[in-house]
Symmetry: C2
């Protein structure tokens, strides 16, 4: 059947449960709580046999991320709040990258980033639970995406931003009807104030970390399903999936998808299953050099959030990889789990390397923001250090569009070189023909 | 089989011919000529029986625009220069538009506009013909798209712009490696200079009008195929397709696609054919109020280009619908053909109406540029004047992304309203829940 967004959706089928990952208790959807009301544990989801079977049956023919709806915590996928997110292209890179490289082009989502997957799920679930509005703390991709999906759902939406956020980042947010609330300080200040103001109220927060909103976290899984299917169509299976990492939820979600597919592979998984489900990729996270908590954690064997906070990484170091600017990634624990379980690697890259990677990415025909190009800088680094071998099949996630960060691209270019139009300059520029 | 872009492409099958639409002569691909070397007529394409049969067989399962490759003038579709363009969502509108409205979201193409379909075909054909470089005269979507696809193809590329084109429009062009050449004057000056400099040279121009490049014009057809298939999946067939119109090639291409599908409907057309092929939509073009040549032509029965030039529409009237700023649409003759053959209507809308439509479009969750929102302004006008009836099924083309025209959105909003974050402002903004 077809949903309101024109996307082909799977029919409503089967059930899922919300379950605390710490105490194992099953939790009701309403009254809403982002964490276990008993023990404060993180919430996850358990999908029943009918849903798992349905997912497997639809896998090969999937066109959009909503074809994976049986493994999303949505009761009625046919009424999903969708703008046609997901189903993004996987493009073979053509330059000499030192490995076999594919680009998963997440810039092609409705508001230009992979966050649209998370927000489509989050807003759908919010509407299913009866919320008429939502709140998010973000001056970046998550705020923009929340505003767009809230508009689509007919929900009201508060986008809380740090003091001094420049107008240009807020233009589309305002156009979507997001109500912009300015905090008297940094992101941390905003977070604390919102937590205080919403305590005891049933307010729906759409921030994209698991303890902020458990529903959105399932959206990132669909990237993993798509990579498995698209590589499977080529007769390949990725050795590495390289993820620009801010909060850590995307890397964790992709790994969870592969774990789910492995669990399903025994049970009537369709044609492409063996390629998709039996070989697990290694996850690589790429952070900015000044924000390398995961790299240190992997090197020093750090396990919990407290140890990461103890590193004291300042959030005030400026970086052009703005979307990855987290001292402690809020989903660090799950990202570390994915890194360790997959035999993965955490690296970090300088701003200069990210900007160089942005230009090399443009030479492939893609305009990614520096935070997205970071993935390519990471690939380059891992190739140079021999971590990635020439025969390795590598999928790099190009997470967000450069059109939303024009100032960075402009700065990186220095000036725009322009020559006067003459017969000579034209012939030289066109080259042979 | 799968192409280099990861898109699923049809295998190479059958042949096509380049044919002059005036004298009927078959023309060789090389030496390249954009017009008939004998009579100067416009060139079109004739696809053989094998290609037409293949197109019909693949129709229902199509995922990307390249599944329509049998009806594109490409010899080896598996080696197409693709960034995964086309296959864009068709989203049901949810507000009260006064008709049954769907939005064909062309902002989701690689560089943010429907021009990517044309350029993917143009650059693929250019490379097949052996060109190592290309030239385009554009400071807008076509220049941007040319630069991206030339980069993808490894071709050099000259983007000729009018004097004084602001840096911000050229940032992504420069990042893609396009060589920017500034003409000493307007678009018209640039065009005349380029024509002079390239006379007698085999230079590949990628401008998106038929007499400038016949190959690119076939790309717009894929919008028509997709609308037919996507509406067919919903069990519907559009009564109207509403097209923001600058050059006129998009409206003409969509109509040509429907004509092709009608011709095929008799001959082994697949399951959804009857819905797609036997009912033809009416085409509506929407121009800016100051650039309403088609509207006048329809009203006064004008036929040829000379009559349109005689209207003397100035190209210097500023309009926020910047991509539609053509005194005489270069494909006007073909657009008028589509309008007349389909029983269509040409309307024009003010800048104020386009900006209002941009905000109404944003309330649906889409960020279109004013030139794209013009389609919605056109729908509104046609509903108000009773041309479109409440039961009519209308598909509006949202041609380009607002992220590439941030200044216009910012101007339209006036200021960005921001309130201080307080308990009261937060609760008010989130609304009930």
């Amino acid at each position: 059947v077809s949903g309101e967004g024109g996307a082909v959706l799977t029919p409503e089928v089967g059930r899922f449960e919300v379950r605390c990952e710490r105490c194992g208790r099953t939790v009701a959807r309403r009254p809403y709580a982002a964490l276990c009301p008993d023990c404060g544990g993180t919430l996850g989801f358990v999908y029943d046999e009918a849903r798992r079977r349905r997912f497997g049956a639809d896998f090969d023919a999937a066109r959009t991320m909503w074809d994976a709806a049986p493994l999303l915590p949505v009761a009625a996928p046919a009424r999903a709040v969708t703008l046609g997110e997901g189903g993004t292209p996987l493009l073979a890179a053509s330059a000499a990258w030192g490995c076999r490289l594919w680009l998963k082009d997440e810039t092609r989502n409705p508001t230009g980033s992979h966050k649209d997957r998370a927000l489509s799920v989050a807003i759908t679930c919010g509407r299913e639970m009866g919320f008429g509005g939502c709140v998010v703390i973000s001056a970046g991709s998550t705020g923009l995406s929340t505003a767009a999906y809230a508009a689509r759902a007919g929900m009201s939406c508060a986008v809380v931003v740090p003091a001094g956020t420049p107008d240009e980042r807020l233009v589309p947010v305002a156009l979507f009807g997001g109500r912009i609330l300015e905090a008297p300080g940094t992101f941390e200040t905003a977070l604390r104030l919102v937590e205080g103001f919403t305590r005891g109220r049933e307010v729906y927060l759409t921030s994209t970390y698991r303890r902020g909103n458990p529903y959105q976290a399932e959206g990132a899984k669909t990237i993993g399903y798509e990579i498995a299917r698209q590589m499977g169509e080529l007769g390949e299976s990725p050795d590495w999936i390289v993820v620009p990492t801010g909060g850590g939820g995307t890397a964790a979600g992709i790994w969870r998808a592969y774990e789910e597919m492995r669990a399903l592979a025994g049970a009537g998984w369709p044609a492409r299953a063996p390629a998709a489900g039996t070989r697990q990729p290694r996850i690589a996270t790429v952070q900015p050099a000044a924000y390398n908590a995961l790299e240190i954690a992997m090197r020093d064997g750090l396990q919990d959030e407290r140890a990461l906070y103890a590193l004291g990484i300042s959030e005030e170091t400026p970086t052009v990889q703005a979307k990855l600017q987290h001292g402690v990634p809020p989903d660090a624990v799950y990202a570390l789990e994915a890194l360790r379980a997959s035999g993965g690697v955490a690296v970090s890259v300088t701003d200069a390397a990210a900007l160089t990677a942005q230009r090399r990415l443009a030479a492939e025909g893609l305009f990614g923001e520096p935070s997205a190009a970071a993935a390519l800088a990471g690939v380059r680094l891992m190739v140079e250090t021999g971590v990635i071998k020439p025969a390795d099949r590598v999928v790099a996630l190009v997470t967000g569009s450069g059109f939303r960060e024009m100032a960075a691209a402009r700065h990186s270019l220095g000036g725009i070189g322009r020559a006067p139009l003459t017969e000579r300059s034209l012939v030289a520029a066109v080259g042979g023909g």
